[in-house]
Symmetry: C2
Subunit: 439 residues, 2 copies
């Protein structure tokens, strides 16, 4: 049983600026998984103040009135607040807010790619001077921990190249144009209706949102600040169905692709543009609102990271992991290094009770009645048969019987197979394998 929080858990107080899509997700998911986070981090992550632009606006989550404020300075100036989460977007107020937090020695968690791509150099210099960290996993590829991977997981690698599909809005629009044969404008309208594109979609469809992310990844990978004016950025506004059709005929798909690549002399190109990709390539099959990043390191080789690249929940997953790291650093000076961080909350399921679909192959006498006997035996045990294949490629007197079975507990399957093995008409030990439907 976990010990009560008051006894052993330090409370880490969070000031949350911005309660839009991602902000609301952070608030809700911190509450939903509070117990889990307490056990894993040894800290209570508590949102103690929330800054919003408009108190009267209806929201996606219920926040108690007293902790709301319309002035972000209330978060930075509150001595009880340990960490600031910046999710207001834009580069003006957000810059002021992050600067003020760093001056106040409050670690910052942000998902603001435009801010970091355009003014990161200033902000990280400020972080250095104030010895106060900025965390930004949520800034690139939503829930995929690609920042941590490039910064830490591949720390020993020279990065040869990164190819990424890192804007879900553009990928959704291009996927719909291809699959439904609708125009750019029709696909954009649909994306806006479904909430995959903003009312003003310029930042996404111009390619600049992806370019900001590519600037961050390139700067991390190559250790210098890539300037926005040095990158190539083209949007998807002028992609025609005609070109999709021709590309298709030639064996290609069209994706908004961000490319970061070093040449033999170590010169780095950073660009984002609609590109033709061979249909056989794994990136060509990344559809809809998903993101994928292909990283090629000189030691690790080719690796791929795939997941939802935007949206309330995936992005808040990254914000929360940054909060956990900020909390561990504040409270313990470093992350806990134990294997299972804190508390025990799992329990085993007896393997006998695990349930799967099954594939069964029997070598049987080629006589009437065998299938009936086998089917009855499974039926009596409550196991459904979804299909039967009986090929005719064996000798005259015996044949294979291949059955696909619906869900069955392992214990029941073992008994059924043992019973079938005892049939006179079954010639060899049955072959049986699990079928993972991946539902």
């Amino acid at each position: 049983m976990p010990t009560p929080a008051t006894q052993t858990h330090r409370i880490v107080r969070i000031g949350l600026a911005g309660l839009g899509n991602v902000g609301a997700g952070v608030y809700k998911n911190l509450a939903k998984n509070a117990g889990l986070l307490r056990e894993r981090t040894g800290c209570l992550l508590h949102v103690s103040k929330v800054a919003v632009r408009d108190l009267s606006r209806s929201r996606d989550c219920e926040v108690p009135e007293p902790i709301l404020t319309t002035d972000w300075r209330d978060l930075v100036n509150d001595p009880k607040i340990d960490v600031i989460v910046e999710l207001i977007g834009g580069t003006e107020t957000a810059f002021e807010l992050v600067s003020a937090a760093l001056h106040a020695k409050k670690p910052v968690v942000t998902g603001n790619k435009a801010l970091l791509a355009e003014r990161g150099q200033e902000l990280f210099a400020l972080a250095e001077v104030n010895r106060t960290p900025i965390y930004f996993e949520a800034a690139v590829a939503g829930g995929i921990p690609i920042i941590q991977t490039v910064q830490e997981g591949f720390v020993g690698n020279h990065i040869r190249s990164i190819h990424g599909i890192i804007n879900g809005t553009c990928n959704y629009i291009l996927t719909r144009m291809r699959d439904a044969g609708i125009s750019y404008q029709e696909a954009l309208d649909e994306a806006q209706k479904l909430g995959y594109a903003e009312a003003d979609p310029t930042l996404d469809v111009s390619g600049w949102d992806a370019a900001h992310k590519a600037i961050i990844l390139a700067s991390l990978s190559y250790g210098y600040w890539v300037k926005p004016e040095d990158v190539l950025v083209e949007g998807i506004q002028n992609i025609h169905l005609a070109d999709m059709a021709f590309a298709d005929k030639l064996g290609y798909g069209i994706k908004l692709l961000s490319v970061i690549r070093a040449d033999a002399e170590g010169r780095v190109e950073v660009r984002t543009q609609p590109s033709l990709l061979p249909k056989s390539h794994i990136l060509a099959s990344v559809g809809g609102a998903y993101n994928a990043v292909l990283v090629n390191g000189d030691i690790v080789g080719e690796t791929l990271f795939y997941g939802k690249g935007a949206g309330q929940d995936p992005t808040s997953s990254s914000v929360i992991s940054d909060l956990a790291e900020a909390a561990a650093t504040l409270v313990f000076g470093a992350r806990h290094s134990g294997f299972v961080p804190h508390g025990l909350y799992g329990k085993g399921k007896p393997i006998d009770e695990t349930v799967s679909h099954y594939y069964v192959r029997l070598s049987v006498d080629d006589k009437p009645g065998v299938l009936g006997k086998v089917a009855t035996l499974f039926g009596d045990r409550g196991i459904g048969i979804s299909s039967v294949v009986q090929p005719e490629d064996l000798s005259a007197d015996h044949t294979h019987l291949v059955l696909m079975l619906d869900d069955a507990p392992l214990k029941v399957m073992r008994e059924a197979i043992a019973a079938i093995s005892a049939f006179d008409s079954v010639r060899e030990a049955p072959v049986w394998l699990r079928v993972e439907t991946m539902e």
Copy 2:
């Protein structure tokens, strides 16, 4: 320019136990990327002693004679050594070695999945008592940073399930059986010849190597120690070509799959066995020596991590990232939190000089000579044409001309397109897109 190491960089001295495949990779790659690691970590990672079983054996890397020893105790007892890397394998001596290192307060980096799966509980208790960390990214899925992802990236998520192809040897054998139609034994022989399978392949083909990795992932995900006797493990030794053929006919492939899944009551099943997977599923297309891990978290949703799961270089990438973290914790108390860790070593490449293949679509008058003019113009600028499509679906007097071009620098392409736009026979602004061949 990076400052000389003597001025600003702490030397972190490494004792390396084991100079087999992965050990040699760690030694070589630490040397190869020493400058990069010094800039990124602020530390000089220096291998100061290496323990091997047999001094006379020929090796994959050149280690100076004086730093070799045949007694691992020399590493643990050397007061100058800061960190121990355990890559000797097995669970007997390795247990002694890791225990002794922890008692001596030396952080341990290990890639030994069998050791952690079977005796992890004891070792991590010892780590806790001695307040000395164990790092083990290399223990699961080679170069893929899946441990860090589960432990940190997804710290805010209840893990719903993990599905993994996490044994490259089995995946190679099964892939070859399917693609070449050879038997299990033939594929195993081939894998051994190519170095993908050991002389004694039992640990791999029995499913136990993958099971050890699944035990580690499950324990991390659910916060309790999964016992080896509670997991289901089946190997691939009895997979027949007949079953591969039937599975194929039914729309499935056969993979050695590790499954970790919690049911509605939070009971966890952990199992590794050959399984049928729908061919359309992304895991079914993971071939050869690659690994892939599909993680489903309650906040982040479905994510996939893919890369080389074994081998000298990929696995040493993970060992080196653990060494970097151990060094940062030893020297700075925590990882550096800056954006670009240390030093500046990249430089931009002018976008005009970036080179790609290109797709070009022209709307032209349907008259003889147009293609010749266009082709001559590209040819004069040194740009090759790899294919031309001229569909016949437009009006009588004009048509599309679609060209696929070989490598061209952006500057040259811009000039060529401007020149073509000026042709009388070209009716609209040319459409031109990059083609990423992903070479």
